[in-house]
Symmetry: C2
Subunit: 134 residues, 2 copies
DNA sequence: ATAGCTGCAAATGCTTTGCAAGGCC
DNA sequence: GGCCTTGCAAAGCATTTGCAGCTAT
C-alpha cells in the first residue's frame, strides 16, 4: 500500500492523525511490503530521530491491524510480526535467523482441503514453509 | 505412539527414566494423539496426584522434542503446543478458543510450492487453517 | 561416587495496562 | 473543553535459568 498523505489515511479509518501514528504510517506504507516487530519498528523510528514509547508502538500496530492496514503473523519465534501486505499470502520462515519472507498467494496452490469441523467457518489458511541452511 | 514401558522408551532415547519423566511419558504416550501446553500438562499431572515443578515440565517437553517424541507447534496464541503426533500433518486453529486440532497429512494437498531462496533447504511445510464460529 | 536431574525462585523477553499529562477537533 | 492519545513505569504471561540438593546408575 502506497500512500501520499498518511493523515488522511488515518482519518479515513477513524483514527486521529497524531504525530506518532503519522510517523509510523509514513514509515510503513511507502509501497514496499514490510515485516516488522514492535521492537524493530521502534528502533527504525528512533533512528529517524523521532521519539515515542514502545507501548505506543504496540498500541499503534494493533490499531492498524484492527482497521485492516496490517496483518498479524507469527513465525515460530516468540515475537509477533506485522505485515504490511494484508492480502492473502504465505511465508518462508528461516529457522536459523527467525526471518520472515513473503510468498505470493499464487505461488502456492492447495488442491485439497479437509472438511471443516461442524459449525466452524474457515477464516483463512496460512502456510509456513520452514527453511534453513546458509 | 503407544508404549508399554515408558522407562525403556526413555532409556532408548538416552534419558534417565526419572519419576517425573516416566509420569509425563505415561500420560502422553498412550496411543492417542494429544496436544498439550506446559501449563495444561502440569495441571493434568497434578490432578493425578503427582507433584513436579512447572520448570521440569518445560524441560521435559523440550527434551522429548529434542529426541523426536514430540513436535512443537505454535498457533497464533501465545502458548506453545506440543503434539504427540510427530508425523507430518497440519492443524486447525480455532481463533476463538485457541484450540488446535490435527489434520492428517493426506487431507491437504499442496500442488505448487514456490522456489526456495538460494542456499536454503525446506525443512517442512506447516499449514494452519484458521476457523471460527460456534 | 558422580554425572545427570529436579525444584524453587529469580530472571528474562515480549507484551499489556494504569493513570497522569498532553494533544487533536 | 472534552475526549482521545501518549508516555512511562509497573504489572503480566509464558518461558528460561542458576544453583543447591537429590537420584539413577
Amino acid at each position: 500500500m502506497k500512500i501520499s498523505h498518511p493523515a488522511n489515511l488515518l482519518r479515513q479509518r477513524g483514527m486521529r492523525p497524531t504525530r506518532q501514528r503519522v510517523a509510523i504510517a509514513r514509515l510503513l506504507f511507502d509501497g514496499v511490503d514490510r515485516h516488522v516487530t514492535a521492537e524493530s519498528l521502534a528502533e527504525q523510528i528512533k533512528d529517524l530521530g523521532i521519539k515515542l514509547s514502545l507501548a505506543t508502538v504496540y498500541n499503534t500496530l494493533h490499531q492498524f491491524t484492527d482497521v485492516g492496514l496490517l496483518k498479524k503473523v507469527r513465525g515460530l519465534s516468540d515475537a509477533t510480526w506485522f505485515d504490511t501486505n494484508v492480502n492473502s499470502h504465505h511465508h518462508f520462515f528461516d529457522t536459523e535467523s527467525g526471518a520472515l519472507t513473503d510468498i505470493p498467494a499464487e505461488a502456492i496452490t492447495i488442491s485439497t482441503l479437509p472438511k471443516t469441523p461442524p459449525g466452524k467457518v474457515v477464516e483463512g489458511v496460512d502456510v509456513i514453509v520452514r527453511v534453513s541452511g546458509r
